[in-house]
Amino acid sequence: MELLSGADMVVRSLADEGVEYIYGYPGGALLHVYDAIFRQKAVTHILVRHEQAATHMADGYARATGKPGVALVTSGPGATNTITGIATAYLDSIPMVVISGQVPSGFIGTDMFQEVDMVGISRPIVKHSFLVKKAEDIPEVIRKAFHIAQTGRPGPVVVDIPKDITDLSKKYEYHYPDKVKIRSYNPPAKGHNGQIRKAVDLLMKARRPVIYAGGGVILGHASELLIELARKLNVPVTNTLNGLGGFPGSDRQFVGMLGMHGSYCANKTMHHSDLILAIGARFDDRVTNNTEKFCPDAKIIHIDIDPASISKTVTADIPIVGPVDTVLENMLRQLSETTDSQDDAALAEWWTSIDSWREKGLFPYEKGDGNILKPQQVIESLYQVTQGDAFVTSDVGQHQMFAAQYYRFNKPNRWISSGGLGTMGFGLPAAMGIKLSFPEEQVACVTGEGSIQMNIQELSTCLQYDLHLKVININNQALGMVRQWQDMQYDSRYSHSYMESLPDFVKLAESYGHVGIRVTRPEELLPAMEEAFSLKDRLVFMDIQVDPNEHVYPMQIKDGNMCDLWLSKTERT
């Protein structure tokens, strides 16, 4: 058997796990591990400029590929800088393994230089964490970390490794386990047959059914099955923010995203339904509005791999715990065997109502007088130029909602956005993680002048690794979503919601060695967008000046039901 040091075991274990990239930043507690990285070629290390970006890169990679992303950071500030990225992954159930260095075992608890209790600090935002006690344990701990991160409801796992355990002078027998058994961790493999039968009965009887599908469909690789089910039942489908792409965005049965900034049609469809089939979604407050008034006539079937997500905020009539793919397979089989038939007349009437709710289109907006660019036009132009086939990441705010509303995602894993935590600064590093793994694909980061500045230093990483993504900076010179709320609820008192002294983003991009393009007029937009995407071997930073007074609509009215909406600045339901 091969003898390896702890540091070499860390890197070899990652290679044996099939890891292609690790995103990281070296430091004292990790120097042994970085030496081991230097002496091998199986795993490629990407040096970021800030550890938060390492976790978001890992996250973007995970969301686009479905495989766990890996970040490697040193102790103390290196570890604490990952916290936002870990929380981002936790809230959206993204598989990730974060390996952090730690001070030597004997010094833990002495407030040594760059010591922080990483297992403690990360505890509420990880699926699990490990503090490695012996070098011999490294392969098994890493195998367990990957197993936990990517099975069941996925999530981030922290592995904290004290420096003495990676000592290069001490060698141990290395064996990477194929399988691990954790007696207290057995995620469900399939849903309960009887529950699925009850669900099928309800689906056949429903007069106004709707499918409400979330990020779990994408994480659970069940997009094809969802499409098959929706076709078979001829029911409308709505997606959550994180579920976009799980069902084709330009499909006739798609009624748009639902929730706070969801379409009038999706929210009306939900509110008036008599049966909701929730798949891998969690009845988040940004979806339900006031839960007391939520969909009063609807019975609820809820499929989720995490039992704790079921009946957490809204009580399910038929809970089904299990992986969405196997549950949907079972459901489709039972549907094909059932002798019941649907009420076609009721369904036809239901579709007539739905079609009337989307008469004006899913997301109508005022196009303006042609002198000022509307942010919505930027996304429409991006959709047109990329033919709806790009990976699109976003930051957080108005631009995120516009991207979700106007870019119609027809495939899963293409829309990459921090939905749960709402992390500004996520978009650029996430796009980097994707571009690295999909160098031939179009990758766009839709952002704003507020969010982009939260991780703008990564433009330097992009230059180093030839990450030729496109930054679509929708620049309204204000923290748009904050400003929108201040307009609507605080009589337009703009407390700290505008960005004074913005940089010249074109020059900034150029100084990082990239191409900067400024767009100020509507007629410049499309040619500039085409130019940006024609420059395949350059990162292009598009600084697009848009109407600072635009709001995102529809917008649910606080404490109302799902379809109590502002439709424009002056019009409400």
Binding site: R123, L131, I148, S311
Partner: protein
């Protein structure tokens, strides 16, 4: 409604902090908490009493079950069970009170485990109500110090919580 949840957890460092942290993180209540290793040295058994409406209790058990270190749990209050708490109580016992304290301790089947000329230290086991009742009977004014273990419990009959 008060619930007693018994949890088998891996006897690993940090396991207890994950459980306690979960309660504070999700705004659940801990009224009492006891924990000790079991006859299987790889497992600890933890008993927590909490309160909340049925939805909250359901979430608590589901969230606890999600923790990787939690092997198994049972809500003892869902079935017939025995519950006990241990109390050590230091009571002023001088003059005419001395005999009265002894008598009260006997009635509650307490044992006097330490004696000085002015103080009795009494050991008492029972349900929470019984221990509360004892303190009331003795009278707050006479009580010098109280320490209670928190509730522990076990299901009646054949039902067992084990691997």
């Amino acid at each position: 409604m008060r619930r007693i949840i018994s949890v088998l957890v891996e006897n690993e460092p940090g396991a207890l902090s994950r459980i306690v942290g979960l309660f504070s993180q999700r705004n659940y209540n801990i009224e009492t908490l006891t924990v000790a290793p079991t006859e299987d040295e790889t497992l600890s058994r933890l008993t927590v009493t909490t309160s909340g409406n049925p939805q909250v209790i359901e979430q608590i058990t589901k969230q606890l079950n999600k923790l990787i270190d939690v092997v198994k749990l049972v809500d003892l209050t869902e079935g017939h069970h025995v519950e006990r708490e241990l109390m050590l109580i230091k009571v002023r016992a001088s003059g005419p009170l001395r005999a009265e304290v002894k008598r009260t301790a006997d009635i509650f089947r307490g044992q006097i485990v330490d004696v000085t000329s002015t103080v009795y230290t009494i050991q008492l086991t029972g349900t929470q109500d019984k221990l509360d009742g004892f303190i009331e009977s003795i009278g707050q004014a006479q009580v010098l110090e109280v320490v209670r273990s928190g509730i522990t419990g076990i299901a009646r009959g054949e039902k067992v919580l084990s691997l």
